[in-house]
C-alpha cells in the first residue's frame, strides 16, 4: 500500500471525522449490521480520497467499505440518513456529535420499509431518529446501548429475526447439516490430485508418456456424492410460529449448499428460487397464494410432482417436509403423492412441530395417510430438536441407498393397490429398519 494521504477537500477536522466514522460503525453494529473491526479505518481512508462535499460519494464510500451484505443496505441507508443528516437541506456532512442538537424534523424511512428509498422521505413521519441519537449518545457515554431499549423506543422492530445467540446456533446447526449433506462418500473412486488412494492403473498409463518411467504418483479418492435437499415448508397459519424458525434454518442451509430447493405451501405451492437469501420470511409467506386458507398438502405435493418430478427427485435427494399435517384436502391425495415422493427420493423426513406436545398422536387423516411413506418422523420446535435432526440426517445420508431401501416388486406398482394392502406395506417398511420409530424420536 503506497496510498498517499491527500487533504480532504472540505475542511472537516481529521480527528472529528475519524471519531464520527467510528461512532457510525458502532451504530451500525448495534443495529445488527456486521461491521468488521478494521472497516472503520478503511472507511476513513476512502473518505480521504473523495470530495466530502458530495453527499452521494460520501455515502457510497461508506457503503463500499462498511456494508458486506446486500440485505443490509436499507438499514444502512436509514441509519446513514439519521446519523449524517438526511441531506435534503444541506450539502455538507454533519459529524455525529451535532445530531443531538439538530431539530427533529428529519425523518428517515422506517428501517424495515424496503430498500428503494435512498433519501429520507419525510412523509414516513414516525421518527426513529431519536432512537439512533439515543444509541449514539449512549455510546459516547460509554454505555452499552441495550437492544431491548431500542426495541422499546421504536416499537417497530418486532420483525427482527431471532436474537444473536439463537442465530449463531442456527448457523452452526445449518453448517453441520450442510457439511454432512455435501460430503457423503460414494463407492466410486475418481482421480483426484489431493486424494489419498494411490491409483496404480493411472500411474502405469501415465508412465507411457515417459517411456515407462513412473514419474508421478497418481491419486484417487472416493467420489463425493452430493445429496440434494428438498425443503417443503407449510406456511399456513397454524404453522406460523414454527415455520419462521424452520425457514431461518433453511435459509442458513441454503447459503452453504448449492443443491437445496425450497418450496412453500399452504393451499398452493411456490418455489423459492434464488431469492431466498434476500427476502425476509414475511415476504415469502405472502407470496404463497391465499396463505391463511386451509392447507391442502396432497394437492400441493401433487403439483410439485407434476412440475419437478424428473428434474429434482432422484436417488440423491432427501426430502424434508415441515408441516403439522392438519389438512383440509382429501387424504388419499396425500397418500398417492407421498407414495410417489418416497419412491423417487432417497429418504423422506417429516418434521411435525406438534410432536413434542404431550400426548400428541398423528391421528389427523392426512398425517396418518402420509406417515407410512415417511422414513423419519420427528419433532422440530427448538434448537435441541434441530440438532437431533442433524444427527438423524447424518445416519441417513451416510448409509448407501441400496442398504437403506431395498426396492421390492411391491414398490413398483403401489398405486394399483387398495388402501388395505398399503397398510401392510407400511408394516414391511418398518421391517426394513429404516424408519425411526416416532415414539422414540418424540421422546429423544
Amino acid at each position: 500500500m503506497t496510498s498517499r494521504p491527500r487533504e480532504p477537500m472540505v475542511a472537516v477536522p481529521e480527528g472529528s471525522l475519524v471519531v464520527s466514522v467510528v461512532r457510525f460503525c458502532r451504530l451500525l453494529r448495534s443495529w445488527g449490521v456486521p461491521v468488521a473491526a478494521g472497516a472503520s479505518q478503511t472507511a476513513v481512508e476512502a473518505l480521504r480520497e473523495i470530495d466530502l462535499a458530495r453527499r452521494e460519494d460520501f455515502r457510497n464510500a461508506l457503503a463500499l467499505t462498511l456494508v458486506r451484505r446486500p440485505e443490509d443496505y436499507p438499514l444502512f441507508t436509514y441509519l446513514f440518513n439519521a446519523y449524517w443528516g438526511s441531506g435534503a437541506t444541506r450539502n455538507t456532512i454533519m459529524p455525529g456529535e451535532e445530531m443531538a442538537e439538530r431539530p427533529a424534523d428529519v425523518a428517515g424511512p422506517s428501517p424495515r420499509a424496503g430498500g428503494d428509498e435512498t433519501d429520507g422521505g419525510s412523509e414516513t413521519g414516525g421518527l426513529r431518529l431519536e432512537a439512533a441519537v439515543g444509541i449514539a449518545e449512549a455510546e459516547i457515554e460509554g454505555v452499552q446501548a441495550s437492544r431491548a431499549a431500542v426495541t422499546g423506543a421504536t416499537g417497530e422492530r418486532t420483525a427482527r429475526p431471532a436474537d444473536r445467540h439463537e442465530q449463531a446456533e442456527l448457523q452452526r446447526a445449518a453448517a453441520a447439516l450442510a457439511k454432512l449433506l455435501a460430503t457423503r462418500p460414494s463407492r466410486r473412486r475418481v482421480r483426484d490430485r489431493g486424494g489419498r488412494i494411490v491409483d496404480p492403473r493411472g500411474m502405469l498409463r501415465e508412465s507411457l508418456r515417459y517411456g515407462g518411467l513412473p514419474i508421478e504418483l497418481r491419486w484417487k479418492s472416493r467420489r463425493v456424492a452430493r445429496t440434494r435437499l428438498l425443503l417443503f415448508c407449510d406456511v399456513s397459519r397454524s404453522m406460523d410460529e414454527y415455520a419462521q424458525f424452520f425457514l431461518r434454518f433453511s435459509a442458513a442451509v441454503l447459503r452453504r449448499l448449492w443443491r437445496v430447493e425450497a418450496f412453500l405451501f399452504a393451499n398452493d405451492i411456490v418455489r423459492v428460487g434464488d431469492r431466498w437469501a434476500e427476502r425476509a420470511w414475511h415476504d415469502l409467506s405472502l407470496s404463497v397464494p391465499a396463505c391463511g386458507g386451509g392447507t391442502q398438502i396432497g394437492k400441493c405435493l401433487q403439483r410439485f410432482l407434476d412440475a419437478y418430478d424428473v428434474s429434482l427427485l432422484g436417488s440423491g435427494t432427501i426430502v424434508l417436509i415441515l408441516s403439522d399435517g392438519l389438512d383440509t384436502g382429501d387424504p388419499t391425495l396425500i397418500a398417492t403423492a407421498m407414495e410417489r415422493l418416497r419412491r423417487r427420493a432417497h429418504a423422506v423426513i417429516w418434521l411435525n412441530p406438534l410432536l413434542h406436545l404431550e400426548g400428541y398422536e398423528p391421528r389427523a387423516a392426512g398425517m396418518a395417510a402420509a406417515l407410512k411413506y415417511v422414513d423419519v418422523f420427528a419433532p422440530v420446535h427448538d434448537m435441541r430438536s434441530m440438532w437431533e435432526l442433524v444427527a438423524v440426517i447424518r445416519a441417513l445420508a451416510t448409509r448407501p441407498r441400496s442398504g437403506f431401501r431395498p426396492r421390492g416388486l411391491g414398490d413398483r406398482e403401489p398405486r394399483a393397490r387398495d388402501p388395505e394392502t398399503s397398510v401392510t406395506d407400511a408394516g414391511s417398511g418398518a421391517d426394513r429398519g429404516l424408519r425411526v420409530p416416532h415414539g422414540k424420536e418424540g421422546a429423544a
Binding site: E49, I50, L64, R68, R193, W258, A277
Partner: protein, 298 residues
C-alpha cells in the same frame, strides 16, 4: 504509478467508463475509483448477468493493461490457479542430459528454472511487467473454502513462494476484481479485505441506455420496450430471472430479425433469449399478451 495518478477524481473513472461503453452509475464509478486509489481488491456481487465481469474488462481496457482472468470452480486448487512445473518437459530434459557430465545438482537447477514453470493466472498477474495488471477472479463463490484461504494469503502479501525458485513478489500490485453470484456466502476474512459492491438490476432508464450502448443500431423505442418487458418479467415469480445480459441478447436477436418493435409473434418466437427454464416459459407464454401490452403502453 503513472496510471494511478491519471485517476484523481471519481469523474475520471466515469469518463473512462463512458468511453469504453460501460453504462455505470456513480456508485460503480466510486467503487472503481476507491479500488484504484486504495489498492484494495473489489468484490462485486449481484445477480447473474448484471455486468459484474464486464467491470473488470472495462477497467483493464481503460487502464491500457492486461486482464488476467481466473474462472473459479469447485475443486480449483493452487496448481491450477498459481503455477505448476512442466513435468513432461522436465523429464525430456533429464533424458537428454542422461549422458552428460553435469552433476545432479546442476541438472536440478536446470529443470527447476524459469523455462520449466507453467504460470497460471495469479502468477501471471503478479509477474506482469510494466503497468499493473487487472486480475479478475470470477465467481469466487464457486471455489471451495480452502481456495478462499489461499486467495486471502495472496491478496495480503501479493507474493508467492515457489520452493525451488524462491519468493516471487509482484513488481506492480495488480488491481484485483472478484465477482460472486452469492451461491455461497464468502468468508468474513475475504470480505473484510475487499471493498464491497452490490449490483442490482438497473433502473429502467439505465437499462435502456445499456441496451442502446451494447446493441449498435437499435431503435430507442425498441430498447425501451425490451427494458420494460424484462422489468415486468423480473417482477414475476420466475425461477431464473433475466439479467441485463439477457436483455442485450434479446436486442441483438431482434435486430438480426430486422424487427423495430416487439410484436406478439416475434416476442413469442424469441422469448428463449430471456427465459431459460421450461416452467418459466409456460408461465410467461400464458401471460404474454398482458406483459406485452404493459411494455407497449408504458
Amino acid at each position: 504509478m503513472t496510471v494511478r495518478d491519471g485517476i484523481n477524481r471519481i469523474e475520471d473513472v466515469e469518463d473512462f467508463l463512458a468511453r469504453y461503453h460501460y453504462v455505470g452509475d456513480r456508485e460503480i464509478a466510486t467503487a472503481l475509483f476507491l479500488a484504484i486509489r486504495l489498492r484494495r481488491p473489489l468484490l462485486v456481487e449481484g445477480y447473474a448477468g448484471v455486468g459484474k465481469t464486464e467491470i473488470a474488462k472495462t477497467l483493464a481496457e481503460a487502464l491500457g493493461t492486461k486482464l488476467f482472468r481466473l474462472q473459479c470452480y469447485e475443486g480449483l486448487d493452487a496448481s491450477a490457479a498459481l503455477y505448476e512445473w512442466n513435468y513432461a518437459k522436465q523429464i525430456l530434459r533429464i533424458r537428454m542430459e542422461e549422458s552428460s557430465t553435469q552433476t545432479a545438482l546442476e541438472k536440478e537447477a536446470t529443470i527447476f528454472s524459469e523455462p520449466y514453470l507453467l504460470a497460471r493466472p495469479l502468477l501471471q498477474a503478479l509477474r506482469h511487467p510494466g503497468r499493473s495488471a487487472v486480475l479478475l477472479i470470477d465467481e469466487v463463490d464457486r471455489a471451495d473454502e480452502e481456495f478462499e484461504a489461499f486467495l486471502l494469503e495472496m491478496l495480503s502479501e501479493y507474493q508467492v513462494t515457489i520452493p525451488e525458485l524462491g519468493v516471487i513478489a509482484a513488481e506492480r500490485i495488480p488491481y484485483v476484481v472478484l465477482t460472486s453470484n452469492r451461491v455461497r456466502e464468502l468468508g468474513d476474512a475475504l470480505k473484510r479485505r475487499c471493498l464491497y459492491l452490490w449490483i442490482g438490476y438497473p433502473p429502467l432508464e439505465k437499462e435502456v441506455r445499456i441496451i442502446q450502448t451494447r446493441v449498435a443500431g437499435i431503435e430507442q423505442s425498441l430498447a425501451r420496450q425490451i427494458a420494460l418487458f424484462v422489468e415486468a418479467l423480473r417482477e414475476l415469480d420466475l425461477d431464473k430471472r433475466p439479467g441485463v445480459a439477457e436483455s442485450i441478447d434479446w436486442g441483438l436477436s431482434l435486430l438480426e430479425l430486422h424487427q423495430d418493435h416487439l410484436s406478439l409473434e416475434t416476442a413469442r418466437a424469441t422469448l428463449g433469449c430471456v427465459i431459460k427454464s421450461k416452467r418459466d416459459m409456460e408461465r410467461v407464454q400464458a401471460g404474454l399478451p398482458d406483459l406485452l401490452a404493459r411494455a407497449q403502453n408504458a
